[in-house]
Symmetry: C2
Subunit: 431 residues, 2 copies
Amino acid sequence: MIPPRSISIPLPISFRSFTLLEDPMTDMTMAPGCLTGIRVLDLTQFEAGTSCTQVLAWLGADVAKVENPTAGDPGRRLGPNNKKDDPYFLNYNSNKRSITVNLKNPRGLEIVKDMAKKADIFMENFAPGAIERLGLGYDVLSKINPGIIYGQVKGFGEGSPYEKNLAFDMIAQACGGTMSITGEADRRPAKPGPTIGDTGTGVLMLVSILSALYQRKETGKGVHLQVAMQDAMLHYIRNSFGVTAKTGKAAPRAGAQSISGGNPPCNIYPCAPGGPNDYVYVYTSRGNPEHWPRLLEALGRKDLIGDPRFDTQEARVKHEAEIDAVITEFTSKRDKYECMRIIGAAVPSGAVRDTHELMHDPNFEERGIIQAIQHPTNGTFRMATWPVRFNHKVVPLKPAPLLGQHSDEVLKDWLGMDAGQVAALHTDKII
Amino acid sequence: MIPPRSISIPLPISFRSFTLLEDPMTDMTMAPGCLTGIRVLDLTQFEAGTSCTQVLAWLGADVAKVENPTAGDPGRRLGPNNKKDDPYFLNYNSNKRSITVNLKNPRGLEIVKDMAKKADIFMENFAPGAIERLGLGYDVLSKINPGIIYGQVKGFGEGSPYEKNLAFDMIAQACGGTMSITGEADRRPAKPGPTIGDTGTGVLMLVSILSALYQRKETGKGVHLQVAMQDAMLHYIRNSFGVTAKTGKAAPRAGAQSISGGNPPCNIYPCAPGGPNDYVYVYTSRGNPEHWPRLLEALGRKDLIGDPRFDTQEARVKHEAEIDAVITEFTSKRDKYECMRIIGAAVPSGAVRDTHELMHDPNFEERGIIQAIQHPTNGTFRMATWPVRFNHKVVPLKPAPLLGQHSDEVLKDWLGMDAGQVAALHTDKII
């Protein structure tokens, strides 16, 4: 297995300086159960599809993840020497049930079609043409179940010259424009670290599924939903399209700054002790002229209030380097949390936080945004939940299923099979 | 107004080389109407809130955008010298109706409360505490209308030490971890260009609203939904949390590569004629060992098939620089579209495309993914639609409303006012 690139970062001293709540909310979680009773036939793998059905499960749907009996979702084992389910798999498949079915076997295929009869939602993200070759295309399943909401994620859209091409997150981010606007101005494009190509696409499909589900309560009719990862990227770069609309040119890369051009300060500033993520963002909004004097006061530089070099937004654009020096003078002597505490009380400001800091931030755990779950083979595993609160509560997490963990119970629940029928399927290696 | 930073990029020769469809789809659009009859009382501004209600409008809801009569949504005018609605506003408010109401006037406030009685969904993203101070908090509106689905986007979550702080996209991206994993390994963090802090949060609220709407058909009950932009960022960086779970360290920045460590090649390669976005992504998946020989064949380097320097994934990790040289030898002599055409037919590959190329790509327009709309003051305006297809069709776009354009008709439709009542409100400067 390829070791991931990594940087060792010492925890800043103030890491645990978040105020603990006086009255800690002991149980922050409650299942909203919005989708109770909804059945999802889930043939997704990796991330663009699994991230979509993940949220359906969190919101209460019964998500039956159909996997091949040999190895299951390839996202379970990202490297050849991986013996346990990878964190990648755990992060996109919690609260689901796993059923193994051999789709190459006619009886296996029949089982999935029987499940399709009972399903409200079908979801897949195989390579282009694969699901249709399996005999589970929309034309087939919509005949079996006219009410089915059938979702497909592909790399490129129907009618694109590339519609038969494979895509992964990075390909979508290259072709969909997100890379062209990310990185430093004088250097080559960078890939946004967040997997917008995968999860960013999955969430748009999710919105469409939920809308179709709402409509189906009236019409009883299903729908064929398709989204391309390349097309989905356009949803997230509309500000940069706005820049192009105004300038007639490609939107630039702007480092840590805003592509649509916030006036200074709109940047990150170095903090003590100088680690790779020891920076604080400082921003003064164009819509709020009072931000600038407020910032000066927070920095202990009331002497600069009214200084003509900085007194208008136009002047601050001209004197950006001097503004940066004033702010850096303050930030470089303090850690990023102290900077955020002082500056953030006056103007929009935020410490640049890394994944280790976020995963181990006690405030996130108190608020239930990160939950520590117990996984049968991976032990304690911290993961992010659905971040939206329903009546002040967040969704509780259950560990991702082991391969085929729920084959028997899903066949009983969905298809009413008895123990003997299920045992026969095991014997015949169909499940 | 601050001129946006920009880079001038000549169009590559092959810009129009996409195959035109022989049988062009003359009408790619059809309103799916999923949310027909749903009323949205929209008090959003800028992007995190407007991006959410934008999609509700696209999916068929009647979105009444309530704006102050003086200047409306500050997103309309991003610079002091802006006379027309900014493209920023146009991109997040199409298909909505605008009604102006003075919320500081008791009669104005009463009108909004009357509208809340008729609304299915209420949405706002003012500064923390502002909506409650206006007297339109959840406690008030849920008494008037117990079925209301009430959504709020803030910068930081309830119970966070920063819950009273302001946030904008860049602050969320600093505090939410997306910046720490974006940029080059040996340099400071970069902000992902896509506005994940704003639109990425809005779309998670949207999912929650739609789920609650579905549930309400059974229960009749409303719900209070809250999401923090910082918390929302965690949803998009779960792969990097997976890296941290495995290494115990902060996930790194990886330039154009994958943070979770794809084996080489997994990078962008320079293409002719050498402009800032003349690169092509080339990737061979760990799950598909046949990708490597296929790539060599596409590059005309069958001579290297079986070469022990490259024959296993482990070997390719060791010889990454040589692999990069082999690929660059090919790509640097061709433009990025030719590279994508040849390499993408064999393995996952994609040209890095900029916003100007995407906005003017005839294939996007043919497929309805980008639509040219006519705006009364801005003229022809190209914008991206909802990228998910419903039964092969995309959502048609209507231009964003002028300030107060629909005040009269919304008051008639929602509250049954007659012409005289509406005229009196105009006279009293309440609307």
